[in-house]
């Protein structure tokens, strides 16, 4: 009957579509020659060149997950994929350093010490090798100089009336690492300290009351359009933005004179990694001189920086491009935790939009 043959035709179409899909789909999950990474945007600390270099050196095939994920996403991905050996399970993660200890306690990490282990400062690595610091930068102001004529030099400058409707954060302080630490960092310039983040919240309240705070998540597009001409963000991101925009519009990256707050990230291998050998080779590459210089090219200070400088491995022109971050302070994991709880708990009540009116 006609309807039946039409149905048969339809079904065979579907079947052939499915076959096309199977052919189009990504590569196989051969454990010796594949690596699954997660949350590594190519513009972040020059990860693009880093990953290219790794692939060229080892021939391992890369499977990149969720480039815009946050540290929490990476941890959740490990947890959700404990029994999964497929392409959804990450092998290696790069998370805010405060996530390291908890992830180790939860049994999510595999111990491994790279060949250059001893050149890494003990304060930023786990003694058993569960996690290890990789790079850091400081919080800075990314300023669109086409819109902002007087460039702010320090945190308290941001409160001036010149900057009405100008200052934004790069995320939500109840969810984003970068935003939380921005609030924490503001405390340093407002009478607080690494143990007391409350003045940071007060600072942002003042900023909002002065009409200077734009409560939007600042993106490069919004900086360029002038909607958020001043963004508080990591120095390496601001500098990478400046390069990418190539003067359209002109960007200046300001490291505040006081309140220099350093944020450290850490690498780790998942305890449930489907490709542990590839993961180890990856770590070896990251912590080799070549790997560390890749990060340096992205304006991130790698953890082995002092060692590299001592051995004169850093090219002079590269050193000149790096921002001056003397006096930057590094909070401990415990301090970060306390501040995180305070900021995420109090942000909405202190700085939130007045929900009654509008």
């Amino acid at each position: 009957m006609t309807s039946r043959s039409k149905l048969a035709r339809g079904l065979s179409m579907v079947a052939s579509l499915a076959l096309v899909l199977a052919a189009c789909g990504g590569g196989s999950s051969d454990s010796a020659t594949n690596l699954t990474t997660i949350a590594l945007p190519h513009d972040w600390c020059n990860y693009g060149a880093m990953l290219d270099g790794f692939v060229k050196k080892t021939g391992i095939k890369l499977n990149e997950l969720n480039p815009n994920g946050g540290s929490g996403d990476e941890i959740e991905a490990i947890k959700a994929n404990k029994t999964n050996k497929g392409p959804q399970a990450p092998d290696v993660i790069d998370v805010g350093i405060s996530f390291g200890p908890q992830a180790k306690t939860d049994g999510l990490l595999m111990n491994y010490k790279v060949p250059t282990w001893d050149t890494i400062d003990p304060s930023v690595k786990d003694p058993d090798g569960a996690w290890y610091g990789d790079y850091y930068g400081v919080l800075s102001f990314e300023v669109n100089t086409a819109v902002v004529k007087t460039i702010p030099k320090d945190w308290l400058d941001l409160l001036k009336p010149d900057y009405k409707n100008s200052v934004a954060l790069a995320g939500d302080p109840t969810a984003s690492n970068q935003a939380i630490q921005s609030v924490y960092a503001a405390a340093l310039a407002n009478g607080g300290s690494l143990d007391n983040a409350q003045p940071g919240l007060d600072f942002f309240k003042k900023l909002k009351d002065a009409g200077n705070f734009v409560p939007v998540v600042a993106k490069q597009g919004l900086v360029a359009s002038g909607e958020t001409p001043i963004v508080i963000t990591w120095s390496y991101l601001a500098l990478a933005d400046k390069d990418a925009l190539k003067g359209n519009p002109a960007i200046e990256v300001v490291i505040p004179t006081s309140g220099r707050f350093a944020g450290m990230y850490a690498q780790a291998i998942s305890a449930y990694a489907p490709h542990p050998d590839a993961a180890k080779k990856y770590m070896d590459y990251l912590y080799s001189d070549e790997g560390q210089l890749n990060w340096l090219n992205g304006y991130c200070y790698p953890t082995r920086y002092n060692d590299l400088v001592k051995r004169n491995v850093v090219p002079a022109d590269l050193k000149a491009k790096l921002p001056d971050v003397t006096g930057a302070v590094f909070p401990t994991a415990a301090q970060l935790d306390t501040a995180k709880k305070l900021v995420t708990g109090s942000w909405k009540s202190v700085v939130g939009v007045d929900v009654v009116k509008k």
Partner: protein, 288 residues
């Protein structure tokens, strides 16, 4: 349907009405200016933000650099094709599941309606990230390790999207069924010896064309733009690709959202054309 009995004035008006010219001209005199204004207001509301995005995207130097960067990217066509295929598979599967269900609920099982509606509305309130983690946990081990292979993960993706399409597809099909006289159509067809399959395929489906098209539109747009599930299932779809491209640049995200908008609109147009080319309505007995 109305309950007014005709009085003498009404009778007079009826005579008037019967002799008055009807048709397009007669209808249009009824306040179509108002409707033009409504439509214009809609056009303004929808297009001004798109225009603002366009203007911003053209601030790149040279002006169309953002667009050429996007279109020249190797993965653009590949991920778009992948998502389009997934969308078609999703639409077919969703229609195949929802139409019989809505039909049966309307015809024979009205008591099941609240349950079915609740289930179809669940995908709205379940955050996609929870759904995808649940899917991974369920299907990443025995007995159905779908996540281990690409084809299995693709199947999982289509299944997740079919679930996401339920609210729209069911709503559209249900409205469509409500508007046609399902009971009479069915009984008339049965009295001519049609089996259930024939009834569904040759009587119900053709009469649901508008609803199915509207459901298909929505499903297509959802699949093309979907990001969370495709990302966590590690599928090379258009949504994750767009987000990857746009994240750390200034003008490209604006270009990308307009290109994606335009392409999806064109795809809608094509679905519309295909729908129009399908066999026309089948009348059975005194249905209309």
């Amino acid at each position: 349907m109305t309950t007014q009995g005709p009085g003498p004035i009404a009778v007079a008006k009826t005579m008037e009405g019967l002799t008055a010219p009807r048709g397009a001209a007669g209808r249009r005199r009824r306040g179509s200016l108002v409707w033009w204004l409504v439509f214009l207001a809609g056009v303004l509301y929808f297009f001004v933000p798109l225009y603002a995005t366009l203007l911003f995207s053209l601030r790149a130097q040279p002006a169309f650099a953002a667009y050429s960067n996007v279109l020249n990217d190797a993965q653009f066509a590949g991920s778009l094709l992948y998502s389009a295929i997934i969308a078609v598979l999703t639409i077919i599967t969703s229609i195949a599941i929802i139409v019989p269900t809505a039909y049966w609920v309307r015809l024979r099982l009205p008591r099941l309606r609240p349950i079915v509606e609740f289930v179809t509305l669940l995908p709205f309130v379940i955050p996609p990230v929870i759904l995808v983690f649940g899917l991974i946990r369920t299907y990443s081990g025995d007995p159905f390790p779908l996540t281990y292979s690409d084809l299995g993960s693709d199947a999982l993706l289509v299944s997740a999207y079919v679930v996401l399409s339920f609210p729209y597809m069911y709503r559209a099909v249900d409205s469509g069924l409500r508007a046609i006289d399902v009971r009479t159509l069915t009984e008339a067809a049965q009295s001519m010896g049609a089996g259930w399959f024939t009834i569904l395929w040759r009587v119900i489906f053709p009469n649901l064309r508008v609803s199915l098209l509207s459901g298909a539109f929505l499903t297509f747009a959802i699949v093309i733009g979907e990001f969370t599930i495709a990302t966590f299932l590690a599928r090379p779809a258009f949504g994750p690709y767009l987000s990857l491209l746009g994240q750390n640049k200034a003008y490209e995200p604006a270009a990308v959202s307009l290109i994606s908008f335009g392409l999806t609109w064109i795809a809608m147009g094509m679905i519309q054309l295909i729908g129009r080319a399908a066999p026309g309505r089948v009348q059975v007995g005194g249905a209309r």
